[in-house]
């Protein structure tokens, strides 16, 4: 049983749990219980590898994670804010509907798969297949911003939403891998830096930023810096390119009847 202690340092009704060695099923059910009891902020200490934190939660609570949470952090999540003060693993924000996930370190592969709303901010690098099959719907526009670099298949099948990759402290490594936006048919990708044609999926092209893109980006960067503590002083909107699909029907001519 994790130890629980109520915190009075914030005005939110807050509590701290020691998650060290607690099995995910027990931890998550305890978190759900605390939310039902009316806690608005839950600090999980000693987290290491517990899966599904925030999975399916619909309440607007805040979950702060110390340690490395397990896979599928915030899957099917619809409302909460999750702060990870360390790295995160694979499957962050899987099919997430709304809410926010802030990772102050790196994150792994398949982040934001099928995400339909909310935000995921990662201060450091992200892995392969980020934001694939993201889609927007009505007023919901999912957003992923990563401060570092990303692997291949960035924005594969993307149908909506916004992906931003900042490449802070890149050194010699490339900003992003290959097959960027392959199969993309909606949404926009903003990259801080150049991409070569051979890195792009055949459905996307590079476009310059419009005024409204600059506005949107400016707002997102401010929010990102605020949430992650990133230093964006060296970042200029002039350094970004935009990737968009040039067709919403990439596979229209594949069939005959």
């Amino acid at each position: 049983m994790p130890r629980a202690a109520t915190n009075d340092r914030t005005e939110l009704k807050s509590i701290t749990l020691d998650a060290g060695g607690v099995y995910y099923k027990d931890l998550n059910s305890q978190v759900r219980g605390l939310i039902d009891e009316g806690y608005e902020e839950i600090v999980l200490q000693g987290v290491n590898g517990q899966r599904y934190i925030g999975d399916g939660l619909t309440q607007k609570v805040k979950i702060i994670i110390e340690g490395v949470p397990g896979n599928d952090l915030g899957a099917f999540m619809d409302g909460p804010t999750v702060i990870v003060n360390d790295n995160a693993q694979d499957g962050v924000g899987n099919t997430m509907n709304s809410g926010k996930i802030v990772v102050k370190g790196h994150a792994g592969d398949v982040l934001g798969y099928g995400m339909r709303g909310g935000r995921v901010f990662v201060l450091g690098d992200v892995g392969y297949r980020i934001g694939i099959h993201m889609k927007s719907f009505k007023d919901q526009v999912p957003v992923i911003v990563a401060g570092g670099r990303a692997g291949d298949f960035f924005g594969e099948y993307m149908a909506g939403g916004v992906l931003v990759l900042l490449g802070l402290e890149l050194g010699d490594s490339p900003l992003v891998g290959s097959y960027v936006g392959t199969g993309m048919h909606g949404g926009a990708i903003f990259l801080r830096g150049e991409v070569c044609d051979h890195q792009l999926g055949s459905e996307v092209r590079v476009y310059p930023l419009e005024e409204e893109d600059r506005c949107q980006l400016e707002g997102l960067l401010a929010e990102f810096a605020e949430d992650t503590g990133a230093d964006l002083s060296g970042v200029s909107l002039d350094d970004f390119v935009k990737l968009q699909p040039f067709s919403h029907r990439p596979y229209g001519n594949m069939y005959c009847y």
């Binding site: 290491n48 490395v68 397990g70 792994g108 298949f153």
Partner: protein, 371 residues
């Protein structure tokens, strides 16, 4: 029936058991000794990647007293098998020491076969007669025992290293074999999730030949051709698991063909032609082209992540498009590789650096000096 029949059924039945899993490994490049409890601790965190149908470990540097002898770990389900096997060993090897492998029966581990180890070297006259080196001789002997002696399986055959595996969860397997009593400079561990149950201890990972030990996650879609390719070079894929081909490919490419490890990895997880074509350096482009042309049948395709242990180190590798996870970390002289970061952080809470290796990019840890 039990073991003997089961095994021979496996040999005849050409159906393959796909398996998937959790991996972890650690090496001290300075050759400092690490207790077996460390790797068990790491595997505990990724318990859920296995399903209790196989767990195992390999430790390197654990038999310093017999560092120049091949350490054969053998399981016998059939007492007749033991007699026949020992007869073979006696004929071909000078056996320095033969003993039971110490175990501590506990919960989660059932139906243990008889487990023994032998420290031995090939008889010089045998080597002379066949005109082959001791390593090749040992490979042939192991394959002979494993394919002909009923109920008998050699599951470890390297020097100054040992594989310990069983049906069960990894942490239980580690305790069963009393791994905390051993120390070594490198350990790899595996929790298995087979899609059906052979219920056979030999089916657990690591798979081993000589000092190669492979733990593997994923399924090798190219298994059929990799297997037929290896068969051309005298390897018999008797266990019908795709992991076995990984061990044999490393053995073949590195030990027999003498490729540097990094290059062997470039064969197994070859870069895409598209990327080879735009390589700037003509020399490296030519090498990559040649590797792909010559070793096209050794390309391992499909989702995989492996950690391969060998006498001087350990290498982690995943497939060309990273369909399986792999995380690495360093702290001082220690290199860690695992399926999940948490398995590393469990035994190294504050690493100097943690990163996710790129697709097909090996992470290699090697001893700096002698141990």
């Amino acid at each position: 029936m039990a073991f003997g029949d089961q095994y021979s059924r496996w040999r005849v039945d050409r159906s393959r058991v796909p398996a998937a899993c959790g991996l972890s490994g650690v090496i001290s490049e300075d050759g400092a000794m690490i207790g077996g409890d460390v790797i068990i601790e790491s595997m505990k965190v990724i318990h859920d990647r296995g399903n209790g149908l196989g767990g195992g470990f390999a430790g390197y540097g654990i038999y310093p007293r017999y560092r120049d002898h091949y350490a054969l770990h053998i399981m016998f389900e059939d007492p007749g098998g033991r007699a026949a096997c020992e007869e073979l060993l006696e004929a071909d090897l000078q056996v320095q020491e033969s003993e039971e492998i110490p175990t501590r029966p506990g919960p989660g581990i059932e139906d243990a076969p008889e487990l023994r180890r032998y420290f031995a070297v090939p008889r010089p006259e045998k080597l002379a007669a066949l005109a082959i080196g001791p390593d090749d001789f040992m490979v042939q002997l192991v394959m002979r025992i494993n394919t002909t002696v009923p109920g008998t399986f050699v599951f470890s055959s390297g020097k100054n290293m040992g594989v310990f595996k069983a049906v069960g969860f990894a942490e239980d397997v580690g305790e069963f074999y009393r791994l905390p009593d051993y120390s070594g400079y490198c350990w790899i561990g595996h929790g298995r999730f087979p899609t059906n149950t052979p219920g056979w201890w030999g089916g657990a990972h690591p798979f081993n030949i000589l000092d190669w030990a492979v733990v593997h996650n994923g399924e090798i879609s190219s298994y059929g051709i990799n297997k037929r390719y290896l068969e051309m070079f005298g390897y018999e894929c008797t266990l019908l698991t795709d992991t076995e081909v990984m061990a044999y490919l490393f053995d073949m490419l590195v030990r027999k063909h003498g490729l540097p490890l990094e290059v062997a990895c470039r064969v197994l997880a070859a870069p895409f032609w598209k990327d080879i074509d735009i390589e700037d350096d003509p020399a490296s482009r030519a090498l990559d082209e040649a590797l792909r042309v010559v070793y096209s049948s050794a390309l391992v395709n499909g989702p995989f992540a492996v950690i391969v242990g060998f006498s001087r180190g350990m290498v982690g590798l995943n497939d060309r498009i990273k369909l399986r996870p792999l995380v690495a970390a360093v702290k001082d002289d220690l290199l860690y590789i695992s399926s999940e970061e948490s398995a590393i952080r469990q035994i190294c809470p504050r690493p100097d650096r943690v990163w996710a290796p790129n697709a097909g990019q090996p992470v290699i840890g090697e001893l700096k000096g002698d141990v």
